[in-house]
């Protein structure tokens, strides 16, 4: 067993432990702090799975922004959780059905790192070998982002632009 497997297994075990602790705690401030730990752990897991950009987003949004947002919510609603009056059977049934559907969905997935997986066999060779002739840009990543997925990128740019306008409208209000 390689060292990477050991690291992945330890990180997953710590993730499960922190999730159980998150469920058992009643103090909301501790819950928010532990959710920060949860996202730091999952960001570490993403790094070890080579998804560095996802790890970047998880660290910035999950551990940074969400913690501060939830702290702002705690400042309004108070620090203790009120005991729920609903029964526990219905949520358990819903979660069991959802979880079994998700686990059933993973049965069809190719093994992690499988070179014959559809995502490696279908469009990636065309991007790698023919994008130079088809698009005329030497960098494959650039031609995928700017040409093959041009509309996708245009939509992302529109979303980021809208978000920037929203932030400017909220923060840029003059104080008289």
């Amino acid at each position: 067993m390689g060292i990477e497997t050991i690291i992945n297994l330890s990180l997953l075990t710590l993730l499960a432990l922190s999730a159980i602790v998150l469920m058992r705690l009643q103090n909301l401030l501790a819950v928010v702090l532990l959710s920060g730990i949860y996202s730091l752990l999952s960001a570490g897991l993403f790094v070890s799975l080579d998804a560095v950009d996802v790890a970047f987003t998880e660290a910035a949004v999950g551990a940074g922004l969400t913690t501060i947002l939830l702290l702002g919510a705690i400042a309004i609603i108070g620090k203790e959780q009120t005991v729920s009056r609903h029964g526990k059977l219905l949520p358990l049934v819903v979660i069991a059905i959802t979880a079994s559907a998700l686990i059933y969905g993973t049965l069809d997935m190719p093994i992690f790192g499988d070179p014959t997986a559809p995502i490696h066999a279908y469009v990636a060779p065309r991007y790698l070998f023919q994008s130079g002739e088809e698009i005329g840009i030497p960098n494959v990543v650039t031609s995928v982002l700017a040409s093959y997925r041009g509309y996708d990128t245009l939509g992302e740019v529109a979303v980021v632009f809208t978000a920037a306008i929203g932030v400017l409208l909220l923060l840029g209000k003059p104080n008289k």
Partner: protein
């Protein structure tokens, strides 16, 4: 050497998680979370050197920055009871 350091960091993470879960006071938990962020930074740095690709150091640095901001936010909430009105009061 990197392997033993990585395993040591993972053990430290487990102990910190226990402290954050059990911690009697809020300050124990804040300190545990802050140290956990530092442990994550170290883990990512060690992982980069372990897989012979130390290019991920900039992510580790981002984590260090984020760790700082959320700790400041928690302490501000604890001191003032809110996040936005500290200057007006």
């Amino acid at each position: 050497m990197f392997i033993s350091a990585t395993i040591a960091i993972l053990v430290v993470m487990l102990i910190l998680l226990l402290r954050a879960a059990l911690g009697p006071t809020v300050f124990d938990r804040i300190l545990a979370i802050n140290t956990f962020g530092t442990a994550t930074v170290l883990l990512i740095a060690l992982f980069g050197f372990l897989t012979k690709r130390p290019d991920f150091m900039d992510i580790a640095l981002l984590y260090a920055l984020i760790n700082f901001t959320s700790t400041i936010a928690v302490l501000k909430l604890f001191r003032y009871g809110s996040l936005g009105k500290a200057e007006d009061e």
